[in-house]
């Protein structure tokens, strides 16, 4: 239904969005590791400290199937609908679009009228996605000014190229493949944009065939996983530039462009360096004088030596636990970058006010392949999994973490089986952070949490066309 005034959760700028009220609910993708007889679900967690149910799972919508491998779901509409060139501000932020990377299914869930009891309104089968877009294994959803953008890891038969397709934000009909000209791009993982510069950035992981059985050591050691970023003309849908990070850099994942549309830089996490198993964060930036895009490595996080007895078979030969940076997130004021080290088991907070010179401002240990650090709510009990998906509230004062990554990887790095948890971190007004000792949601056996979306928006759901 069209509203009379813009949806109150739409903000012209990131600055105005950071004044938004605190979220009272969080939506969490809950997925079955493979087909275990259970069904995938969308969980609803109460995040209102004044509520009796604070820090509890208060709702759960079961999807028709299990084993979808739900990944980065998103809203049908967000602040980008205030953009002047494609204004559509009276649509509601209401539906969540949940893609299944394994099944290629796309689920559309209505969070109204009762946000605690979301309802399934549509399922697009993977065969239809493939027929209408040429893509399979959809992964990430972003609400764009002119529709919903979804990317996919590959195409028919599980090979590449992976790419982007569009879904109409009102009818939820597939609009087809996005790219007009893809140049050398073949691998896909994440995508986002600089709306003020009409530029899209995409990253590289691997095709469905390269990733669906987990990290393939042969492909990895041969450097076959993705090592590049791609820059696109968002308006003309054409490839502009490939930015190679180096042959030893493997698996270039989460993209976090600056939220201020005047800024033309962002950060991306690389899972592994073949040289020393370190993870790294790179900055991409537009060089005004050459007109070209460039990259700089701005953070490197080393692997930690470990007793092979504490390591899963895949890592025993290396006698080290890699940090496995698999998600990063940038606060709406572009000041703090949060980095999830899923392997070593710590969340890092960097001040990136000067994006070329990040400073480490805080580290919080939890879980981890070797450390198994407990949560303060239950200090005696080791936790497995590590901080993985990280989501930041719009005001930047709260950060939510979940611990499951991707079923085939979960099995390789946490072979004892991940027990799902979600934790909340409180952030000081000028940085620093600590766990909220009251908030640890533990999910039932056989249902693992992944992406979190906060009601009304969060630091990775919305994009803005205005700087002020």
């Amino acid at each position: 239904m069209a509203r009379m005034l813009p949806d109150p959760t739409f903000y012209p700028s990131a600055k105005l969005a950071s004044e938004a009220p605190a979220e009272s609910l969080a939506y969490v993708a809950l997925l079955t590791p493979g087909e275990n007889g259970k069904r995938d679900a969308l969980g609803v967690v109460d995040t209102d400290p004044a509520s009796a149910d604070y820090g509890r799972l208060v709702g759960k919508l079961e999807l028709p199937n299990g084993g979808n491998e739900l990944h980065h779901f998103g809203w049908n509409a967000c602040s980008s609908h205030l953009c002047a060139y494609a204004a559509n501000p009276h649509v509601e932020r209401r539906y969540l679009v949940l893609p299944g990377t394994h099944s290629s299914r796309i689920h559309v869930v209505d969070t109204m009228p009762d946000p605690r009891r979301p309802k399934l309104t549509k399922v697009i089968e993977g065969s239809e996605v493939l027929a209408k877009t040429g893509y399979a294994a959809p992964h990430t959803v972003h609400c764009g000014p002119d529709g919903i953008y979804i990317n996919a890891l590959g195409g028919e038969d599980g090979d590449g190229p992976g790419g982007i397709f569009m879904l109409d934000h009102e009818t939820f009909e597939l609009r087809g493949k996005w790219e007009a000209s893809r140049g050398p791009q073949y691998l896909a993982y994440d995508f986002w944009w600089h709306l003020g510069h009409d530029v899209m950035i995409t990253s590289e992981w691997g095709t469905p065939n390269m990733v669906s059985s987990g990290v393939n050591p042969e492909l990895l050691l041969a450097g076959k996983y993705g090592n590049s970023l791609h820059v696109w003309d968002l308006r003309r849908k054409v490839h502009l530039q490939r930015l190679e990070l180096g042959a030893e850099q493997q698996m270039v994942l989460e993209l976090r462009p600056a939220h201020d549309p005047r800024r033309s830089y962002g950060f991306v996490g690389v899972v592994l360096s073949l040289k020393d198993l370190s993870s790294s964060i790179w900055m991409w930036l537009h060089n005004e004088s050459t007109g070209k895009w460039e990259t700089r490595k701005v953070i490197e996080i080393p692997a930690e030596p470990a007793d092979p007895a504490d390591l899963p078979p895949l890592l025993q030969g290396f006698k080290a636990v890699p940090p496995l940076v698999t998600d990063i997130n940038l606060s709406l004021d572009d000041r703090f970058l949060y980095v999830s080290c899923w392997g070593t088991g710590e969340l890092r907070q960097y001040d990136v006010s000067d994006p070329l010179q990040p400073t480490l401002t805080a580290v919080l240990p939890i879980g981890g392949i070797v450390r198994r650090t407990p949560h303060p709510k239950s200090p005696g009990r080791p936790l497995n999994g590590g901080p993985q998906m990280v989501e930041i509230s719009r005001d930047g004062r709260r950060v939510y973490l979940t611990n499951a990554l991707y079923t085939p990887w979960d099995a390789q790095f946490y072979p004892d089986g991940i027990r799902g948890w979600m934790a909340k971190v409180d952030v000081g007004p000028t940085g620093g952070m600590g766990f909220d000792p009251q908030f640890l949601v533990e999910f039932e056996e056989g249902l693992r949490p992944h992406q979190v979306r906060l009601q009304g928006g969060d630091a990775s759901s919305d994009s803005f066309c205005y700087a002020e």
């Binding site: 009379m4 012209p12 494609a86 968002l234």
Partner: protein, 218 residues
């Protein structure tokens, strides 16, 4: 042409009404100013926005004029009425999108955007009842004569209206677009969008339908 019956006030008001709508241009001008931190970018956007808007109106009037060459005015009236109602009904059922997909567009693309936005909203169509009313009002005394005579008399009036109507309409549009853009950029800020961006789609669609019905009846 009798000046007292020329609908210039209505045309000005209609243009002004379009100018108020953030989706019709002023917000785009503000966005470009803010992006570059340069108020001159805002001013530079106004010309292309006005040109695109004027062309949209002129195209609609010219199309009616061309149809007037081959159709009796009475029939033309029905065609315009039916189109107004159709666009109005379509606007009620589905919000139309115009997107050039980005913000960094050149002057020509900005004008094209303005043309498309005005056209899909039926801005030019809305002017036609005034033009038709004027075009058909003068030869009213000839109504009992042969259709061809009506056509020729009507066409002569369309000619002058075909130029002046888009200009006057665009003047209203430009004055309001420029004023709001400057006030929002310099003083008010975009926070106002959250409270003041009223959904005029339904109202506008209803106006189109009403105009269509009136055109058919009068």
């Amino acid at each position: 042409m009798a000046n007292h019956s020329f609908p210039w006030l209505s045309l000005l008001a209609l243009g002004a009404a379009h100018g108020i709508n953030p989706a019709m241009g002023w917000l785009f001008a503000v966005a470009r100013g803010l992006q570059r931190r340069d108020r001159r970018e805002l001013w530079r956007a106004l010309g292309p926005l006005a040109v695109g808007h004027a062309v949209a109106i002129a195209v609609a009037v010219a199309a009616a004029l061309a149809l007037g060459e081959v159709l009796p005015v009475r029939w033309l009236r029905w065609v315009v009425a039916a189109t107004l109602v159709a666009v109005g009904v379509a606007g009620l059922t589905r919000h139309r999108h115009v997107s050039l997909g980005g913000m960094r567009v050149g002057a020509r693309e900005l004008a094209t955007w303005s043309f498309l936005v005005a056209s899909v909203h039926g801005a030019g169509l809305m002017v036609l009842p005034f033009v038709l009313g004027r075009g058909a009002a003068t030869p009213a005394g000839l109504r009992h004569h042969h259709d061809a005579a009506v056509m020729i008399a009507g066409a002569a009036h369309f000619d002058s209206l075909g130029v002046t109507a888009p200009l006057i309409h665009t003047l209203g549009y430009l004055a309001v677009t420029a004023t709001i853009a400057v006030v929002v950029y310099e003083k008010v800020g975009l926070r106002i969008l959250r409270r003041a961006w009223i959904n005029v789609n339904v109202l506008w669609a209803a106006s189109l339908i009403a105009a269509g019905v009136l055109t058919a009846l009068l």
